[in-house]
Amino acid sequence: MKTTRAFWALLVMVLLALSLCAQEQDPQVTGEAAIGANEVNAKDGEAARFTEYREIPDGLAFSLFDIRLKSADYYLGLKAEDAGQSDERYDLAYNRYGKFRLDYRWDRIPHNFSTGAVTPYTEASPGVWTLPDGLQSQLQGILGDNGTNLPLAMDVLSDALTNAHGTPLGLERRRQELDVDYSLSTPMTLSLNYQNESKEGYRAIGAPLGFGNVIELPETVDQNTRQGEIKLTYSQKNMSMDFGIAPSKFENSVSRMLWDNPYRLTDQASPGELTYLLGNGSGTGQMALAPDNEAAKYFFNGSFKVLKTTRIRASLSYTQLTQDADLLPYTVNTGLEGAYAGALSAPREAADLGADITNAALTLHSALTRSLALNAGYKYYDYDDSSKALSIPGHAILDQNWVDEPVDIGFLGYTRESYYANLAWTVWNFTTIEGGYKSRTMERERADLNEGKNTENTLYLAAITDPLDWLSFRGTYSISDREWSLENGGNAVYPVRNDALFAFRRYHEAERAREELTLDLTLMPMDNLGLSFVYLTALNNYEQSQYGLESDDHRSFSFDANYTLGKHNFYAFYATEENKGLQSARKTTLPPLDVISNDPLNDWTAILVDDTTTYGGGLDLAFMNDRLHLDLSYSHSKTDGKPLLTSPAGGNPDAAITFTEGLDSTEYTVAKAQLIYKFNDRLKMSIGQWYEEYTLDDIFRSDIAVDMVHEGYAFYLGASDPDYKYLVSFVQLIYSW
């Protein structure tokens, strides 16, 4: 089937190319085609991650067909990559020089998550997941309304999970994009862009019922996004501007998910307001998935050379977001009608939500003198909610309980502003020193309440020099200080009700001191040797936050080398990187459950470090007067996730028990060897092997179980992320003309 599709696709392309050739007197035809075969050998079993975003066919592969026609007037390119595969891509490019340009791309992008997922549920219709009534009825009978005989019910469910059936977990994007430029006259161009992207398949999603019952299900994805842009550009020697409109529409065919409660067939109101016993509550749960939405952007950009060496640029855009999907009812649990008569209704028919985004930027670039340049700019970005107000009398918790808690839904709004100015001074022809200042503010509001304003001021200094042909250096240093207007009042303490954590801050708005340093040295001590070193640090200190994220630091060093000896090429790279976060919190005391403890003994701290080391290299050796090439390459990347958890003894928690295994420690290795033999200028053959290995060391994810009924009242898809080892042998013929 795949081969057939690839054949037809390629045939159409060839015929199209030939017909165009026939119309022209003297087209210059060039191109390349590659066909080959792979033998894919999974050393430790199949793993979806190996083919996460690609297909490696075990057998014949049409890797490439690329034909280019060029004449004095036009260029035509037709290109097919991986034809017939799940990651195939086709490109068509046509350019009538200076007049008309068209690019069309069609691309399939797989996203495979797991090959081993299982579920006891059946999809009755898109997004509706059901269990056999008999199982629900049996468990409801065992549990009654008060959760009696719980161990027996869990045993029955556990047994039922052993009969779970396989379910695919993976998505596929099909994306087509058309770009057209038409030069109406020399200074004026009309541009059109259109994209249509569908996304279909299944991915894992948590679908809880009650406070203790996690159910992992496949989420049905059937979405489509269409977007485009029409733009008119006018460009003269001293000015250029463009304006246009960019609409976008997202549609989701499955906008809600329904799933059965394994422990219950018939609906019932759970007796406790904030407690849940298996067997209480709803026979079904319902979740809202991504709603249809639209956006329309109107924009203008202009660049004006106001003086010989001074340019002013302005960008202005206005975007309208609208989301008017049908709203779901508060709950599908008929048992909650007694608590609130409207529980089975939506608060209003449709969402009626929206936002207006205004973006404006003005920048100035001026060469004040031959050696002094000034840059300055201002940017304004406002996200202004335009939703219709909505008040709700309460809500259903997990379709189990009704809570009378009237809320005026607090829609969001924020305004970002920034301005900057810097001077760049060219000291000698080869050295420039730049100093500048930047200020940013972020002001938030929610439900018309001011949530405070962040102001961040940054000073930065940069030096760029290339005093010798073989030496260049770039260095930048910046220091920032972010303040928050509400530090001592208002909503500054978050969550407001947690008075004990007086210094808890959300890190995206907390006061912060930040330092960044980048050093970049490039050397070419010989014509055939290039060396490059980069050192980078970014240190964030949330100095007023005694709880929450307190610091977040990044450090890295990297090195690249390239060496050429005659026809032989060598390269190597190395990078080491550390990401380190320090955070603190305090556990709820017992009892009461709803109050944060005043006792510092209940504090805990987590230091999470991700250390990554990446290295590799390769060589390309040429023999037999460049007819034979040996390519060898190797790359290895390892991240150690190191958690360090601490808490004082005698509190709750008592002394923390840190993990003995890594958190998200991963390792990825690729080694490849191939021989390329050129029979002549047109035909060459490559033969070789590549080895790829991936390992995951994570105390939770390495071996995801299906059945955790006993430990966590939860069950999962078993969609594990297993280690893999693949060896792929390949042979390929490449013909160019």
Binding site: G98, G548, Y694, R701
Partner: protein, 272 residues
């Protein structure tokens, strides 16, 4: 070669007399095609300036604009004569210009380069990595965008020629760029998650991560950087909690599945 008067344009045929290889490769490049004569019919001299003096002086290098002797800024200025529009509008004064990255660091002018962009390297990502080394590590991490598989490139998100948004993001904001491919996250939602609405990078590192879904840190600890409410958000999940739903598999997201925003009337804690 015929003698010409000062500041005269002499045409590519004259140039070819001495610079045969350069003229041939120019003719094969995108710049050498017919349509570009609409912008300038001076061919070589469109960038190098009138060659009359140069020819008259028998090829004296000091009488022609030679970019090997010019500063990077001067070289860029020659390109910007025609290209300072559209996506290149914000180049002058932008971060790459300020750091003295020249057009010819990435593009090949004389010789036919890669694709219509005349790039110097075989692929765009490799070109960017020549300076941005650390991104190589990110691209090799377990959770990544499909870049190493060739389905995305740097310029799908960044405009290397300049932008009014930080990090040369090719959009009015980071989120606006992300929504182009992730329109399902655009909403607005009945219940928006505040940091997600403001900036996707509060929680995600789009370049790559060893944590699932490009997250900046492992859940539940990532969530606990903001959430320390009573009961489970403030709980320490240590080695004694390995088999609890709050940390196993997707931790908090096992239940709070609609964390980007919920359109359910009862979705204020993103469980519906």
């Amino acid at each position: 070669m015929t003698a010409s008067s000062s500041a005269d344009y002499i045409g590519i045929q004259e140039c070819r007399g001495c610079h045969e290889d350069a003229a041939a490769s120019y003719g094969a490049s995108l710049h050498g095609q017919k349509g570009f004569t609409q912008k300038s019919d001076h061919a070589c001299e469109a960038c190098h300036g009138p060659g009359g003096d140069h020819a008259a002086a028998g090829g004296d290098a000091s009488t022609i604009t030679s970019f090997s002797k010019k500063t990077r800024s001067a070289g860029n200025a020659a390109c910007l004569q025609c290209h300072e529009q559209g996506a290149v509008m914000h180049f002058a004064g932008g971060i790459h210009d300020a750091r003295k990255v020249s057009c010819t660091d990435c593009h090949r002018i004389h010789h036919p380069g890669q694709g219509a962009e005349l790039l110097k390297a075989t692929d765009e990502i490799a070109l960017c990595l020549t300076c941005h080394h650390t991104m190589r590590s990110d691209l090799m991490k377990a959770s990544h965008h499909p870049m190493r598989e060739g389905k995305m490139t740097c310029s799908d998100c960044h405009n290397p020629h300049g932008s009014t948004t930080d990090a040369l993001v090719a959009g009015d904001s980071i989120n606006d760029k992300c929504y182009e491919c992730h329109a399902e996250k655009r909403g607005p939602f009945l219940w928006d998650h505040v940091p997600a609405r403001e900036d996707c990078t509060h929680c995600h590192d789009p370049h790559g991560s060893n944590h699932q879904r490009l997250l900046n840190a492992r859940v539940p600890y990532l969530c606990q950087r903001c959430h320390s409410e009573p009961r489970h958000p403030g709980t320490l999940y240590d080695a004694s909690n390995v088999n609890t739903r709050a940390i196993y598999n997707r931790a908090c997201l096992n239940c709070h599945a609609t964390v980007h925003g919920s359109n359910h009337p009862s979705g204020q804690t993103f469980m519906r």
